[in-house]
């Protein structure tokens, strides 16, 4: 059992995920945590010796038991949403980064001065620090509302890009082992995206918002989801994952058992702390806090030359662990491993015995059936034992069903057996389409037949692997055979051929493709779930495909002549999806396109006008509030003055005024809040708009579009923005 090296009680609330450590004076690591009321406290374990000198005269006044003297507070004055620390520039001192919903502050703690203080209208949800490709200075990354910014020492944003949704987590690691870091971004739309510089090189879909990411050895990284899942990826292969009913608050990579390979340390909302092997997820160490874990960091907190694992709980308890020695590494766990092993083996033995018994009885029954011809009794017996004919097969098929009154349109998975056996139940495992990850269908006892259909509602256009387990048996047997099979749902499922009289949509995107039409046709047949195979008109010279998206009800016209593809559709998201999928399968690296989406642009225009309005209103409200707060201060002083002079009447008057003013201020604040949240929503739409425009291109043109759009918005040049969306960035 590994005992903590040290335990500190800081007696301060710590906000979860807002814990960091940094060498703010260039030498000693200090813990910095966000606490209530927009404050940050910094714990300096080494200040004791310096403090005691200046405090000699005071030492009698302070009873040191009640106070933690090494804490000091920074007043940020805003709700803190993210914290970080790291070196920017040549200085060896670490800089403290504090993010709030509106601002980003880089603060030099040692010198009590700002490095920079920037407005971030997109908010700061998470902060990461380090080097990335194409930039030779360290940057600090702030992930906000659909956007990621990377700031250099002078507050200049050297890096900026958009993602599909709110960014929840960031990590820097060498994903493709090319010796430069990639930026890994987890967001609220369940995606983990990997950016090399500002180009997206990989995308992994998960099943919930990705709340934490942690870089591990090599190209491995740990992740945690909002539903309590924790796991490890190596590039895009998942090594393992586990799910808990608690939420992982913080994950961290640290070699706790001293074997040279980092373990994934997870701090849970229940106060549990565990270390799991990065390879198979086996628990190597466990500990418990009295309250939820707030954050995990590492640092040389005892100045003995090694880095300890430091874990903080929300109640301000701090524990430090140092890695175990090689020889003790096997028994980090509390309980005896041998006993565990014996228990596990005996369990397995029991299971095997049970299985064996089943088999032997089955063969016995089978013999009877074979030997004695069919008789009523044995038949019943056979059914009871759950024997089914050896040639029983399961057939599955996928079918698109259009909207009916009772059901929205969906994909139907039909399962039926080839003979009289019935399907008792079906279990489907698939990520991302069900609540949770599995779905069980078991018809009522009187409704059991040999065929079963399961409606599936894919929320997004992604290929999904369905792992289906079917319980097959006779009507009244108590034991069933399990048929396992997997079936892939193609990427674009909810689409059917459009009715012949459909109007061609006005919006379109067109791009050059140097591929034979046949390949595109093949791709369409693989990726769409259409009733009949598509084929090119007039032998390889033209392709005309008219589809209808069932989810939104808007038509899609795909037209290809050699060299160019044109897609007509009002839904820019969908077009982006198709373009990306098509480009990926045809191995197109760089592709620019021309786009024309009048409705989308119209909407964007409206939103931009609104953003401007919100900005103006906000400015007015801010000025008003500042005015009020000045008045409030003067009233407080006046009231106090009146109190000192024993003039109770004017004191009362002052406080009455104060009360009224305060009420006004609170009202004003509410208005401001509403205004801000609406502004945020609008900005999100704008960012997503840029992202959508980017998705109509591939590779370099895509990043060009994103950067150009950003610049146009910065300059407030709306016309230019639309031009870029239409024609690309160059």
């Amino acid at each position: 059992m590994l005992a903590p090296l040290f335990t500190l009680k800081l007696k301060q609330k710590i906000l979860p995920r807002r814990v960091t450590i940094g060498k703010f004076d260039g030498v000693n690591p200090n813990l910095a945590c966000a606490t209530a009321a927009g404050k940050v406290f910094i714990h300096n374990p080494f200040s004791g010796s310096q403090m005691s000198q200046s405090a000699t005269s005071m030492s009698r006044l302070v009873t040191s038991e009640d106070l933690v003297p090494d804490l000091y507070y920074l007043n940020i004055g805003q709700q803190i949403s993210a914290m970080g620390a790291g070196c920017l520039g040549a200085d060896t001192k670490d800089v403290l980064f504090v993010g709030s919903q509106t601002h980003f502050l880089a603060y030099d703690v040692h010198n009590n001065s700002d490095l920079f203080y920037r407005e971030c209208p997109d908010g700061v949800n998470t902060i990461a620090h380090g080097y990335i490709a194409d930039c030779n200075v360290p940057l600090v990354f702030a992930g906000g509302n659909c956007s990621i910014s990377g700031f250099a020492e002078d507050g200049e944003d050297k890096f900026w890009t958009v993602t599909g949704d709110n960014v929840c987590s960031l990590a820097l690691l060498d994903y493709n082992q090319d010796n430069v870091n990639e930026l890994v971004v987890g967001s609220e739309d369940y995606e983990i995206r990997v950016f090399h510089s500002d180009e997206m090189i990989a995308e992994i879909t998960e099943t919930e918002s990705v709340t934490c990411l942690a870089a591990m050895n090599g190209s491995k990284f740990g992740y945690a989801l909002a539903n309590g899942t924790v796991g490890v990826y190596d590039r895009n292969n998942r090594f393992w994952r586990i799910k808990s009913k608690n939420q992982a608050v913080s994950i961290f990579s640290y070699d706790l058992n001293g074997d040279g390979v980092d373990e994934l340390i997870t701090g849970w909302s229940s106060g549990k702390l565990d270390a799991r092997s990065s390879h198979n997820g086996e628990v190597v160490f466990k500990d418990n806090f009295a309250s939820a874990v707030a954050g995990i960091v590492e640092g040389d907190y005892r100045r003995d030359g090694t880095k300890q694992l430091i874990t903080c709980s929300v109640d301000g308890e701090v524990r430090g662990y140092s890695p175990a020695n090689k020889d003790t590494s096997h028994n980090l766990m509390d309980n005896d491993q041998e006993q565990d092993l014996i228990r596990e083996l005996s369990q397995r033995k029991n299971n095997l015995l049970l299985e064996l018994k089943n088999y032997s009885e089955n063969t016995k029954a089978g013999k009877e059936v074979g030997g004695l011809k069919l008789s009523a009794t044995t038949d019943v017996d056979g059914q009871h034992m759950g024997i089914i004919p050896a040639n029983t097969q399961l057939q599955t098929s996928l079918q698109v069903t259009t909207e009916t009154e009772s059901m929205p349109s969906h994909v139907q998975l039909l399962i039926n057996t080839t003979n009289s056996t019935v399907i008792k139940a079906v279990m489907i495992f698939a990520e991302g389409i069900f609540n949770g990850e599995s779905h069980v269908v078991h018809p009522p006892t009187n409704g059991i037949t040999s065929a079963l259909s399961v409606p599936i509602f894919p929320p997004k256009d992604v290929p999904i692997d369905l792992h289906v387990k079917t319980f097959v048996g006779h009507k009244n047997s108590s034991q069933y055979h399990v048929f396992e099979l997997s079936r892939q749902l193609p990427r674009f499922t909810l689409y059917v051929q459009a009715p012949p009289n459909t109007q061609q949509p006005r919006s379109f995107v067109s791009f050059p493709v140097n591929e034979r039409i046949n390949r595109v046709v093949m791709w369409i047949n693989q990726n769409f779930l259409l009733d009949e195979e598509v084929c090119a008109i007039a032998a390889d010279t033209e392709l005309d495909l008219r589809l209808m998206a069932l989810r939104t009800g808007c038509p899609i016209f795909l037209h290809m002549v050699p060299g160019t593809i044109t897609i007509h559709c009002e839904d820019i998201d969908l077009v982006g999806d198709i373009v990306q999928a098509l480009a990926a399968s045809l191995n197109i690296e760089n592709m620019s396109s021309t786009a024309n989406f009048p409705e989308f642009i119209e909407k964007l225009k409206e939103v931009l006008v609104k953003v401007d309005e919100f900005h103006n209103v906000r400015q007015k409200l801010t000025a008003e509030m500042a005015d009020h707060s000045n008045l409030i201060r003067s009233l407080v002083v006046r009231a106090e003055d009146a109190r000192l002079m024993n003039d109770m009447n004017s004191m009362k008057q002052s406080y009455l005024k104060l009360y009224d003013l305060n009420r006004d201020l609170v009202n004003g604040y509410n208005i401001r809040c509403n205004n801000h949240s609406e502004l945020l929503a609008c900005l999100k739409i704008v960012n997503q708009g840029i992202q959508k425009a980017g998705r109509l291109r591939v590779g370099r043109p895509k990043t060009q579009v994103v950067t150009a759009c950003r610049n146009a918005i910065k300059q407030g040049d709306v016309e230019k923005l639309f031009k870029i969306i239409e024609c690309g960035g160059a």
Partner: protein, 508 residues
């Protein structure tokens, strides 16, 4: 003359008046022109300009910390910063002995006395609100309740003067968006609103609109936005605007404004850094060097401060502030003759006031030119007004003590108290004289009144402690010596007394 003026075109005449700073006449002519043609932009422009110039005060220097700002300060980030990095806790790092209270006295607000009175040198931070409210009543460091209600209200009273036909411009009826688009008129309108009307909210709106209409490319408007935010106490927003303006066009003003913001945010090192950068762009710009010196002085690092003041001399040999500060520094570094030179230079430059004669008198005394000394004090008294005569009398008493003429000293201190019965130092010295005479109870009473007036006066605490100890009242003595050490932690005599008292207590 009048004939010539009648012959001149009124527009030209108004322009001439404006240039010659005869604002009243200019306003009069412009008003007449506007009566004839209310849409005469030229007349409107000049009238606004003239009215603004009448009340214009340089924004860089106009600054007062109100009580409320000081006590309810939520702008500074670090609450307990490392010594030497914050104005709140200046110079506890003990760089150089020149900052020691034993050598250089503290001002009423617990800060080393500077040679120059300037805005916000009074900004020591009292501990409690009660203390903060009491101090301005007792001493002559009247401090407004808030900065918004203080000097700026007085500056803005120009707008409250009744004008014969209503106010010239009524901000609430203006269509600011319309004016913002007119580059010729918007700046003068802004100045009028900001300086004359003191209407910060509307100025801000106008500045914001004008910035937009100039496509965020006019640094002047950004600077004005920053000024508005600064007045409203939104220092972070002000910082953003000044930074942005600075990026576009470095100007001296901008550096000074931004440094002011950093001072407000209690980040002196950031301010120093900024001055440094500014001096690279504008080498030899005196206001930047002086700014840097002020910040150093605020941090209690007087040696560096003096270094910067000396640098000022290279560029501007007649900077009053630099001369005064260097003189004060020399005086407190035991070089009264050299200090005398500085003060004499001030006198040559035409600065004639009580304080200067008072300082020269003191210098003369310490430089052993006794004949000059008393003459100087005589002049100082002749020039003095109600507010500073007490200090002169106090200094005369001080010299009398030095000369051993305790009768004169006694009378001088009494005179000081007659003109200002809140002069804590005079009470203290009077008490010491009483103590020498053996009137212990009288002395105690004087000490107590000194203490009630100024809590920070460590001498009074220490003296009372000594007195009580002599009488055997060890408890009071212990309490007082502790307070003395609170005000001045390095005071050796207090420490010795404390050690002695501790020993007594352990013996008991």
């Amino acid at each position: 003359m009048a004939l010539v003026e009648k012959q001149l075109d009124p527009l030209f005449l108004a322009r001439s008046y404006l240039r010659r700073r005869k604002f009243d006449s200019c306003v009069e002519i412009c008003s007449k022109m506007l009566e004839k043609n209310p849409y005469d932009q030229c007349a409107w422009f000049m009238k606004a300009k003239a009215l603004t110039e009448q009340v214009y005060v340089d924004e860089v220097e106009a600054d007062t910390d109100g009580i409320a700002e000081m006590l309810m300060d939520d702008n500074s980030i670090a609450q307990v910063a490392r010594p030497g990095t914050s104005f709140k806790k200046p110079g506890t790092s003990g760089q150089g002995t020149s900052t020691s209270q034993g050598i250089r006295p503290m001002s009423q607000s617990g800060r080393p006395v500077s040679g120059f009175v300037r805005p916000s040198t009074q900004s020591g931070r009292p501990g409690t609100m009660e203390q903060a409210i009491k101090t301005p009543r007792t001493a002559h460091t009247a401090r407004p309740v808030t900065s918004a209600s203080g000097r700026f209200v007085r500056l803005g009273t120009a707008s409250m003067l009744s004008e014969p036909d209503g106010p010239f411009i009524n901000p609430s009826q203006l269509n600011l968006a319309k004016y913002a688009d007119r580059p010729g008129l918007n700046k003068v309108l802004f100045d009028y609103l900001f300086y004359h009307e003191n209407d910060i909210k509307n100025s801000l709106e106008l500045a914001a609109l004008a910035t937009q209409s100039s496509k965020y490319e006019d640094w002047w408007w950004k600077q004005q936005l920053g000024k508005c935010y600064y007045r409203l106490g939104l220092y972070r927003d002000a910082e953003k605007q000044f930074q942005s303006a600075l990026k576009q066009q470095p100007t001296v003003d901008n550096y000074l404004y931004l440094a002011k913001v950093f001072v407000k945010l209690d980040q002196p090192l950031a301010a120093l850094d900024l001055f440094e950068k500014g001096m690279e762009v504008f080498p030899g710009e005196v206001s930047l060097i002086i700014g840097s010196a002020r910040v150093h002085e605020g941090l209690g690092d007087l040696d560096s401060s003096v270094k910067f003041y000396k640098k000022v001399f290279q560029y501007d040999a007649s900077s009053v502030e630099a001369i005064a500060c260097i003189g004060t520094h020399n005086f407190y570094s035991d070089m009264p003759e050299i200090a005398l030179r500085s003060f004499r230079r001030l006198l040559q430059m035409g600065v004639v006031n009580t304080e200067l004669y008072n300082n020269i008198g003191l210098c003369c005394f310490y430089a052993q030119q006794y004949d000059m000394s008393l003459t100087c004090f005589e002049r100082a008294i002749n020039l003095a007004n109600k507010e500073n005569v007490a200090d002169v009398w106090y200094n005369i008493g001080h010299i009398a003590v030095g000369l051993g003429d305790s009768n004169l000293a006694y009378q001088a201190f009494q005179m000081a108290l007659i003109s200002d019965n809140n002069h804590a130092e005079a009470y203290n010295n009077l008490a010491v004289l009483e103590m020498r005479k053996g009137k212990v109870e009288q002395a105690r009473a004087y000490f107590l009144s000194a203490i009630t007036i100024n809590q920070e006066l460590y001498e009074a605490h220490y003296n009372l402690a000594i007195l009580s100890e002599g009488q055997g009242d060890l408890n009071t003595s212990f309490k007082e010596v502790r307070k003395s050490l609170e005000a001045f932690a390095e005071h050796v005599d207090s420490k010795n007394l404390l050690a002695q008292l501790r020993q007594y207590f352990t013996l008991l």
